[in-house]
Amino acid sequence: MGTDRYAYCSPLRRMDPLGKGFVSLLASVVCLCCGMAAVGLFTMLLMGGLTILWGGQKLRTFGHFMKIPLAFLAIGSLTMVVQAYPPESALLVGIPVGDMLWGVDRAGLWEGASMFCRALGVVASMYFLALTTPVVDLTQGLRRLHVPALMVELMELIYRFIFTLTDGADRIRVAQKSRLGYGSARRSIDDVGVLASMVFLRAWRQGDRVYAALESRGYTGALTTLARDYESGKPCFWAAAGVCAAQLGIFALERWLL
């Protein structure tokens, strides 16, 4: 599902998830803290390059996932950029609405563009982790970081059940559609409602069955699993240092030029 099926095919899959998490986190934090357009764009290119060349993903896959948050980014940036100005202000684009002039001036546009580029950089950094590390490895990493066992177990169980429930929901939807479901807006709401409630009922009853199965196999309250042996995460720490140095270099260059 989503990024996970690509992460399972990545050559970096066997590498220590904490190392990959460190690269992602450091690149995100530096990009956020610098807050400049050039650093954001550079981080996106660098982390995109790492995901594609080192993480073994296709450019098309990376591009597809980069498009997902664009909707919110575009709406957020536009809302930020468009402001009300007094009449006769010098704007790049503007239309009068009532007594005010609504539009975009140079400073606002630059600020919006900076935020947009910074966001792209952070999104690309996050995708490096998501497209190279399956969730099961991430939860093992969380266990090593001493996140409470109950939380990690809940995450593992939820992750496992998501696939079971999605599969059931898909089959119900096909059955509904083959019986002329989803014909109108009103019908759609009814059908989605029935679908959601049936999925809930199945989830609840399946939960009961899973618990009975676990109990009959000696379940005492803890789901202990063996951690996989990972390759050393040392290359990730070198990569993180390189990415961070390059980001800071671009930051200094942008400050010097502007």
Binding site: T79, M126, V135, M151, I158, F161, I189
Partner: protein, 239 residues
Amino acid sequence: MNHNSVPRWARTGAMAAALLGVLLQPASAMHIAEGQLPPTWCILWGLVSVPFVVVGFFSIKKRVDLAPRAKILLAMCGAFAFVLSALKIPSITGSCSHPTGVGLGAVLFGPTATAVLGLIVLIFQALLLGHGGLTTLGANVFSMAVAGPLVSWAVYQLLKKAKVSPTVGVFCAAALGDLFTYVVTSVQMGVVHGGIAKFLTVFALTQIPLSIAEGLLTVVVFNVLVKYSENELHELAVL
């Protein structure tokens, strides 16, 4: 700039097109994406959310210690919340949206468990689907797993005490919880980037049709659950 050169019909058309564009926001628009909040605000919203998640965690721990079966059932509920957010519901504006599950989650599992389940679901949505983000996790948890569910739960309990029919109670809880989620998202964005009213207009006002759609959906789900699984609802202390 000479604005009089632009005909009135063109200006009206442009405004209408812009408004329509805003109304047709896709579903992921409710999550604050990576990089949209500065580091200080990311940390601040994270800190604000932590107490709610901690309280939720201990309430779940207590339930699990009393009955280990609760862990499996809560995990199923978390997975259900994730699957629910992937379903498509038609909006009155003609576009499609996804339910937030804020109202249903709060009514079924209570606001404390919803905070923890919401946190996990939001992490999965960020990593697997690219909705939201890890740096903005604190802000998203606060709007979608804390504030919205709290409002939904409070509205539902209040209307239940006032002996209002459960259908009306569930509708109001889901619609208001959904709307409040957007209001909080607008405030989170507006406080940082200036113009809370502007963000409220774009993110909250335009979401009223979606909130109504989600309210109706939640009523349908609730009615089916009452019909077929009253025992489970009693177990969850909903009825």
